[in-house]
Amino acid sequence: MSGAPVELDDVDDAVRVRMVVNGRKVACDVAPRDTLVDVLRGPLELTGTHAGCEMGACGACLVQLDGCAVHACLMFAVQADGARIDTIEGLSASGVIADLQAEFHRRNALQCGFCTPGMLMTAHELLSQVARPGREAIRDALSGNFCRCTGYEAIVDSIAAVAEARAAKAAEGSSR
């Protein structure tokens, strides 16, 4: 984890990285070996992004990089230089996933909540690409998100319900 002062004999090998994180320009000094999830959770204190497997299998660390969901554990922070990063905190504050969050809450589509930010990232990306995915398509989209608590069904139900509600709202809007 970067950020801590270290009694180093060697030359400081920190690299300055500039990103737009949740709409704000940030610059921070990172070690070349720091992953993006290390830097988000450490110096940037965005602890809503979680590290679950550190090999891109569980989806707990998903963030949006230039609008696409990526595993923050699979890329080095230096690779994100110049990128726009949106984390659960940013998507939450902007309100773009408020309907997903409300539906997850209503249907209890989370228990411990550790997978939840990653689930929401996947759901958000899916619904921005496919307006009304079927249950199979939702389950398929979630195939890279591990949840040990829920059994997935309530998550699938929530995403399906939000897709329907968004489609209904869009139809209402276009008929006006």
Partner: protein, 791 residues
């Protein structure tokens, strides 16, 4: 979801309602506060060097280069920590004759599994600590490793513990008598041997701990991702010699536990010691590979079973032998014997036969410790029993549902006892079987199966009846000498503005403990739920209690909250009666108002009683001391355990060319007693079922011949993912326990208990036309093809 139990038109009627969890919104916004997230001032980070050998003598450890590395604050070996930490032994007195070696945070002279932590480094960052690990040289002399269960039991097997005479940890047997006679008289005898793969809980948040010892005051604060903060307060106090009142354990948001985070782990104990040695906060979070090699594993069992039935298909007797391998130690403080003990005691539990004999043998091996994981022992007992029932039904020529209906203990026969002596207050197997038949549309499902089979599509239907043990009394651990509480405590207060605060010793890991406690308190007090704040998971805040495990959160924690709330209500009404010059019995509280019990007319706001009591006590009659805080404890009495019951059904399709299994639908009918929040109960069941389905089809810790874990990553160890899991249909029967006012029994483990048994039966049902049979889980494609002689 079930019909609510109480009329919903009444204000503050919350028990039986699907109320969303108040604390879940925070988690949805990414504002969880997990131990993993915690950073304290001057906090350092620990990393551990682990044994590459499954069994090796530690000849020497050279840490000089690591110590000299910039950023390193401490390098500690077993001997360093042994100077401040007393050893522990994972045995319980009521398991007569069981043995286990004393354990220390880090070993001194011998490593006993591949992945065991041997040396600790504490540094400015985790990365620096890991760098330093590479500069440590440990000289090992490799010893013969005992890997396989059968190898551990072989005569002249190498010894896991050289001081012992064998690798046996524990042996026990049960015999009701009459078994040989029953088998001799039986019309049919069926036999099978079963294998159950070792698997592991895989919580998404790994184990995490921040220990913070403050040397000047001698206070130890441990932020610990655990289910059981009080148990750890006791353990840290006793093993590090710190007075209990100066040890505080805080369990904040926890990213999954399932029984895994209530055991003593060597690294966790070490981190406490490292903080004491440094006088600074020290953090350790297991990475995923470390989780696989050091979290408890579970369910490594071989079972041989026989069942005797008469010509009509009546079960007469069972005779079983269970052998299980538990790693090199028995886990502390709950032991690694409980699982096997529950296997042999739960086998046959739903059924009314009398003659039962079982033998259990628990053996050591050079692998990581096993212990309690969700539904402890139940999945094995259920799979063995239910497969035997199916084999017997097939032999007699009965449909599996009919076979079960003919043999379960009748709903009107309670109280009754299991063949192994468990006492059942009231179960509902017959009602559950009837419901299952209805929700599965069983007869038409059988028709569909037959029609598809003719077209070469091989679907299977599996049924599994189960009994689940909940709400344990001290008979579970306390009688064995473990300082593990079976009671819980709550401190409930009316705040000056008329709201309610309930600090309770049951804990929250996402199952909804805080939600149901607030429902119960709000209903009992007649206060709106949003005015009830529930606090959990901090030994400094709540009374001592057992916390959340063995499905005791609702049954014991819920009853504690209920009784505490009733006492507080009585105290509030006492003051109200004085103010209103009424008898307390003539008053009630509805929606935050004291009302006349007969007319329901509002008389006085509860907030006004609080205001007067806290700020104008001078206006109360002389001698009145308002007691608006109540502390109350509740321990289960009556039956030593509550039991829930239910039945599950599974519909799946086997691809006989590839061996792949597609789960089509899963069904559960469950009786957990009083349902407090139907939505949360259903979600507990679904999550539990999916953990059982993972065990049935995917999950197994695979080891090489030298005792190396071969699949210790989330890419190699398969867990159930969304695309492989079916929708799960749930229905309920409700038989509240009369041992408590609330009547809740618990529901956290029922799903896991029977899901794998169901799948095993369904796969075998699908394979019937081939005369093939499967007797081991996980049921991998290779196992299916082997059974079909196609691999």
């Amino acid at each position: 979801m079930t019909a609510p139990l109480t009329s919903l038109d009444r204000p503050n009627s919350y028990i039986g309602r699907s109320v969303p969890r108040p604390n879940a919104k925070r988690l949805l916004a990414g504002r969880g506060r997990y131990v993993t997230d915690l950073r304290l001032p001057r906090m350092l980070h620990a990393a551990f060097l682990r044994s590459p050998h499954a069994h090796a003598r530690i000849i020497s450890i050279d840490v000089d280069a690591a110590r000299a590395q910039p950023g390193v604050h401490l390098v500690a070996s077993g001997a360093d920590l042994a100077m401040i930490c007393t050893p522990w032994t994972g045995t319980l007195d009521h398991f007569k004759g069981m043995i286990s070696e004393p354990q220390l945070p880090l070993p001194i002279d011998r490593a006993v599994w591949a992945g065991q932590a041997v040396v600790a480094v504490v540094a400015e960052s985790r990365a620096i600590a890991e760098d330093a690990l590479e500069r440590i040289t440990v000289d090992y002399e490799e010893l013969p490793a005992v890997v396989d269960l059968d190898a551990a039991r072989a005569p002249h097997a190498p010894l896991v513990n050289p001081a012992a005479s064998s690798n046996i940890c524990f042996r026990t047997q049960l015999d009701s008598g009459g078994v040989d006679e029953a088998f001799a008289a039986a019309a049919h005898v069926v036999e099978e041997e079963f294998g159950f793969g070792r698997h592991t809980p895989v919580t998404l948040e790994p184990r995490a701990i921040v220990a913070d010892y403050e040397p000047d005051s001698g206070v130890l604060t441990v932020h610990h991702a655990t289910q059981t903060p009080y148990q750890f307060q006791d353990l840290y106090s006793r093993h590090y010699g710190i007075p209990e009142a100066r040890v505080r354990v805080i369990a904040p948001d926890i990213g999954g536990s399932f029984g895994m985070k209530l055991h003593v782990y060597h690294e966790d104990m070490a981190v406490v010691g490292l903080s004491i040695l440094l006088g600074r906060p020290v953090k350790y979070v297991a990475d995923r590979i470390e989780s696989f090699v050091s979290d408890i594993h579970a369910r490594d069992h071989h079972v041989r079973a026989r069942m005797a039935v008469d010509a009509d298909g009546k079960i007469l007797a069972m005779d079983v032998v269970d052998v299980t391998a538990i790693g090199a130690f028995s886990t502390y403080p709950r032991t690694s014997v409980v699982e096997g003990n529950q296997v042999i005691r739960l086998i046959g539990a739903p059924y009314g036969f009398k003659s039962y004999r079982a033998a259990l043998e628990v053996v050591f091996q050079n692998k990581v410790q096993t212990s309690q994981y969700r539904a402890v022992g139940h999945p094995i007992a259920c799979a063995v029993t239910e497969r035997m029932v199916d084999l017997a039904a097939e032999r007699v020529g009965l449909d599996p549902l009919v076979m079960r209906a003919n043999n379960v203990i009748a709903d009107d026969a309670y109280p009754a006892a299991s063949p192994t002596g468990y006492k059942f207050e009231a179960l509902s197997h017959e009602a559950c079987l009837r419901r299952l038949r209805a929700i599965m549309n069983y007869d038409s499902l059988r028709d569909e199966q037959a029609a598809l089979r003719r077209r070469g599509v091989h679907r299977g239907i599996g049924i599994a009846t189960f009994v689940e043990i909940t709400n344990p009394s001290p008979a579970f651990y306390g009688v064995g000498g473990a300082r593990i509480s079976s009671q819980d405590g709550a401190t409930i207060s009316l705040t000056p503005s008329g709201e309610v605060r309930c600090a309770i010793s049951v804990t929250e890991q996402g199952q909804g403990t805080e939600a149901i406690v607030s429902q119960i308190v709000a209903e009992q007090l007649g206060i709106a739920q949003e005015h009830v704040k529930v606090l959990t998971g901090d030994t400094e805040v709540t009374p001592h209690g057992g916390a959340t495990w063995a499905c005791r959160g609702a049954g014991i924690g819920g009853e504690t909250a209920l009784q505490a709330a009733r006492q507080l209500k009585a105290n509030i009404l006492e003051i109200a009666a004085l103010i209103l010059q009424e008898q307390p019995a003539a008053l009630d509280i509805v929606d935050g108002q004291v009302v006349s019990r007969s007319t329901q007319q509002p008389r006085l706001a509860v907030a006004e009683i609080a205001r007067i009591s806290y700020f104008r006590s001078d206006t109360l009659p002389p001698g009145t001391q308002a007691q608006l805080t109540v502390s109350h404890h509740f321990a289960p009495q009556g039956y030593p355990f509550a039991f829930t019951n239910g039945v599950q059904g599974c519909y799946l399709e086997v691809d006989v060319d590839t061996g792949f299994i597609k789960l089509l639908k899963h069904y559960v009918v469950e009786d957990c007693g009083r349902i407090i929040n139907p939505m949360l109960v259903d979600e507990q069941l679904r999550g539990g079922v999916v953990q059982g389905l993972g065990a049935a089809l995917f999950e197994e810790c695979r080891y090489g011949e030298t005792g190396q874990l071969l699949n210790g990553s989330l890419a190699d160890y398969l867990v159930p993912m969304a695309m492989e899991m079916p929708d799960i249909v749930i229905d309920h029967v409700e038989t509240p326990t009369a041992d408590t006012i609330l009547g809740a029994k618990g529901c956290g483990e029922a799903g896991t208990a029977a899901a794998s048994a169901c799948v095993l039966n369904a796969v075998n049902d699908a394979l019937t036309p081939f005369g093939a049979s499967i007797n081991a889980i996980p049921i991998t494609p290779a196992r299916v093809l082997k059974a079909l002689n196609r691999y």
